[in-house]
């Protein structure tokens, strides 16, 4: 089927959606009016059915018109603040043949896009916004960024697929269909179902158009940035995505719960992306790009097909675009990019204490270790009937309470005391080791380091802190905690040491 014909059907379906819903509402209201006039009693009874249905239908229609979020995400940048970026976007829009966006916003996501505020299922456009992910600005070259932005603008190019732009906006609206319905209520649930069924039909019909549009948008990207820059940008996106996920999960928020954030964000992300320990993994993703899972209604063709198609075009870039980092398009980039990240974090981000990366990693790792020692401290306190502290743990071991400090049971139910003691030893030793490490760390003699892969290492300022033998002796049969106690005292650890949270 030709794209223009499909587009026409899609638009007809969009219009039909309103016709269907409004027709239903009008029909029901007419029936009700007729009944009320002719047979008021029947009309009243009928109203019990008609009123909720009309209510649900109208609510459904409103849900199509309303934005899911009232606040538009991202940091707004004006042409006055970022002239170079705006110049670039305007020039790209002109080259692609669509109107430039009304707003540019910087997001903390590995994504870019153009979205329109629409009414009537995308048939009328109120405002066009361009979103640019901050990680893209720091990770791509200028040419690669051009490829990405040209692709997004290409979706709105006003060429032979006049209706296709409407189809794109329509998809977004359709995915919202019925989202405001109250699923607790069966009437509304049914109407929501009806809307969704219609939306599915629409999405299926428009799917081919969307796929065609992706390839068409890729052609814009290749024409403006050149095939090699566009293909390399598409290869780079999954790499940035993987790095960004690692960055946000293992680093940015590592001490979030404890009330800490790093002082600056993007210097850390830059160091993560270029760290030797990640090099191999990221290169693997670069060489074998996997299509990300974007849900069942995603319109994108497989990434590898797109890269192959772009490379097959073999287009040279337009003159005048550079290979410099895209970040150089920005005036004073770091505060803007960090603000974009802060903007996506929940509102109490502002209350967090800001520390440097090394301190943040240490705080995050330490908290995990503290949690791992709570059980042992409590068990020892119970066994000795003393307040929980490192000394109480050591006293409990010296008093021969090893078995009662453990919770794990051997596999053989008839196992003797020796097997239970061995299980307890396996459980207590790592916990005691963690407790001693905390004591040294809190005494300022050691710290945890977090590498960019998210692995922690315990670093001591001297080899004198190798406690392995003392720890083994503390939990051994006929062992002793004496050597360990001496070492702790030498390090200046208080006898009643207990890790603070």
């Amino acid at each position: 089927m030709r794209v223009s014909l499909r587009a026409a059907i899609s638009v007809a379906l969009l219009v039909g959606f309103y016709v269907l819903a409004l027709g239903l509402v009008c029909g029901l209201l007419a029936l009700e009016t007729y009944a009320l006039i002719e047979r008021p009693f029947v009309g009243l009874k009928l109203a019990l059915f008609v009123v909720p249905v009309v209510f649900a239908l109208v609510k459904g229609l409103i849900s199509l018109e309303r934005r899911t979020q009232d606040e538009v995400p991202g940091i707004l940048v004006t042409p006055a603040e970022q002239p170079a970026l705006w110049d670039l976007v305007r020039r790209l829009a002109a080259d692609v043949g669509t109107r430039p966006p009304d707003e540019i916003r910087i997001l903390a996501a590995v994504n870019a896009g153009v979205a329109e505020d629409t009414r009537f299922l995308g048939l009328r456009v109120l405002k066009r916004r361009m979103f640019i992910g901050a990680p893209l600005l720091t990770s791509l070259t200028e040419k690669q960024l051009i490829a990405v932005l040209a692709h997004e603008l290409g979706h709105y190019a006003n060429k032979d697929t006049r209706l296709a732009g409407v189809v794109v906006s329509g998809r977004d609206a359709m995915l919202r269909a019925g989202s405001h319905m109250n699923t607790e209520h069966w009437f509304q649930r049914m109407i929501a179902k009806l809307f969704r069924g219609y939306a599915k039909l629409y999405l299926r019909v428009s799917q081919a158009i969307s796929r065609h549009q992706e390839f068409a948008a890729d052609r814009f990207a290749a024409t403006l940035a050149g095939s090699s820059a566009a293909a390399s940008a598409w290869r780079e996106l999954p790499v940035i995505d993987a790095a960004w996920n690692l960055f946000t999960n293992r680093h940015l928020t590592v001490a979030w719960e404890l009330g800490y954030l790093p002082t600056t964000f993007f210097d850390g992300f830059a160091r993560l992306r270029t760290s030797p320990e990640l090099h191999e993994e990221l290169e693997e993703i670069r060489q074998h790009p996997q299509t990300p899972d974007r849900g069942p209604y995603d319109s994108h063709p497989p990434l590898q097909d797109r890269i192959a198609a772009i490379e097959a075009l073999g287009l040279e870039p337009e003159q005048g675009w550079g290979d410099r980092p895209a970040q150089e398009l920005l005036t004073d980039p770091m505060p803007l990019l960090d603000a974009a990240v802060l903007n996506t974090l929940v509102s109490d981000a502002a209350t967090k204490e800001r520390v440097d990366w090394a301190t943040l990693g240490h705080i995050g790792a330490r908290a995990g270790v503290v949690r791992g020692t709570e059980r042992l401290l409590q068990a020892s306190a119970t066994a000795m009937n003393q307040p929980p502290s490192l000394t109480t743990v050591l006293d409990a071991l010296d008093a021969g309470h090893l078995i009662s400090l453990g919770t794990h049971t051997p596999g053989n139910r008839e196992a003797g005391a020796r097997a239970r003691r061995e299980m307890a030893r396996g459980e207590v030793l790592p916990e005691l080791s963690a407790l001693v490490a905390l004591a040294f760390s809190d005494a300022g003699l050691a710290r945890w380091e977090l590498d960019w892969l998210g692995r922690t290492t315990f670093v001591t300022s001297s080899h004198d802190f190798d406690m392995a033998e003392h720890l083994d002796a503390a939990v051994a049969d006929h062992g002793s905690t004496e050597a360990l106690r001496t070492a702790l005292a030498t390090a200046g650890v208080a006898p009643d040491y207990r890790p603070a949270h």
Partner: protein
């Protein structure tokens, strides 16, 4: 299960009878005493007509075979270690017996090692102590692991199992160094090789050390056969090959091919008919003809011979072996089951019934 019973009228009737009995005794069917279940489930035969002991006399409890060992077990339970230590010391040179003594005491030490501590304190550096100690760590590892499947076993149990097996290997190396003639520490290493997933080459190196010290070490061959089984680190073929080689070395080891076949029958159903197994069985029967059933190992060989004979439909010979076994259902293959006695009686009933009906292959005239 219930549906499939409908197509087996005999089983269905038995189940109904058991349900009625359970109701009469006021318990759940699963809680019926073993003897009661046995009286309903086992084939009704007349063992005495074939010179067999009555069902009621059959027991899975081993008679005292090593009186000295039985005595030191009691001593150890009472907290006295001296006699146990002396017995271990005295067995130096009698390697099969030493193995039995060491593994029995190691089993006790895995439950409670207070007496081991006393022994070590009183005789520091006693090389025999470390021999028992290293084996007790293997037993301890299995206490921690338990006998559940891997999904029933917790990560902590696995961790403990491996940790203690590594300790056991270290201790066994020390024992081997301080007792250079003794095959026992090497047998300990063979035993723990399964749990530590030792590779074939490494295992063969340990094996070479063992057979250098005792070429026919009885338990060593049994441990190695387990290692070569499919369920551990070998295959049906490797296990059968190992067993056949061992059987060729000495008539003492003729039972091994039958044990290998028993392990392999699940995946190699025709294994019992293979010439190597049949010839090992026939040779074993000749050897057993002159021997009674006084030792555990003889009963073990007879048990596997019976299993093979039943598989080959040689019921008359099987009854003959049951006659030789008498009342003792303590060895293999019965001891593989939770209720060895019932397993024994069940198999015996099958053999007797078949003979009564004149089924199967008649015994050759010897």
């Amino acid at each position: 299960m219930v549906l499939s019973l409908l197509f087996k009228p005999k089983e269905l009737i038995t189940v109904i009878r058991l349900m009625r009995e359970a109701k009469r005794l006021g318990v759940e069917i699963d809680e019926l005493p073993t003897d009661v279940v046995a009286s309903f489930v086992l084939p009704k035969t007349h063992p005495e007509r074939y010179g067999l002991v009555p069902d009621a006399e059959v027991t899975a409890t081993s008679p005292l075979e090593d009186l000295a060992l039985a005595a030191v077990k009691d001593d150890v339970r009472a907290g006295n270690w001296e006699n146990a230590a002396d017995l271990v010391t005295a067995t130096h040179g009698d390697w099969d017996r030493r193995q039995r003594v060491v593994s029995t005491l190691a089993g006790l030490a895995a439950k409670d090692d207070t007496w081991m501590d006393a022994w070590q304190t009183a005789r520091p550096g006693d090389p025999h102590w470390i021999v028992v100690h290293s084996m007790s760590l293997v037993s301890l590892a299995w206490e921690i692991r338990g006998s559940g499947t891997s999904s029933q076993t917790t990560r902590e149990q696995f961790d403990g199992f491996h940790r203690v097996l590594f300790e056991a290997r270290e201790a066994a190396s020390v024992a081997a160094a301080v007792m250079p003639d003794d095959p026992t520490p090497w047998n300990t290493m063979l035993t723990l090789a399964r749990g530590l997933q030792v590779n074939h080459d490494e295992f063969r190196a340990i094996w070479a050390e063992l057979v250098e010290r005792d070429p026919l070490h009885h338990n060593g061959h049994a441990q190695a056969l387990q290692y070569w089984c499919r369920k551990w680190h070998g295959s049906d073929e490797l296990a059968l090959e190992f067993a056949a080689e061992a059987a060729a070395k000495s008539p003492k080891l003729l039972g091994l091919p039958l044990q290998a076949a028993y392990e392999a029958e699940g995946t190699s159903p025709d294994v019992w008919k293979s010439p190597a197994v049949v010839s090992a069985l026939d040779a074993l029967l000749v050897r057993l003809a002159d021997e009674g059933a006084d030792t555990y190992s003889l009963r073990n060989d007879r048990g596997y011979a019976i299993y093979a004979l039943l598989e080959l439909q040689r019921f008359e010979e099987a009854v003959g072996q049951f006659r030789a076994l008498g009342a003792l259902a303590d060895a293999g293959p019965w001891n593989y089951y939770d209720e060895p006695r019932l397993r024994f009686l069940g198999q015996r009933g099958i053999a007797v019934k078949a003979v009564a009906k004149g089924k199967g292959v008649k015994a050759p005239v010897r």
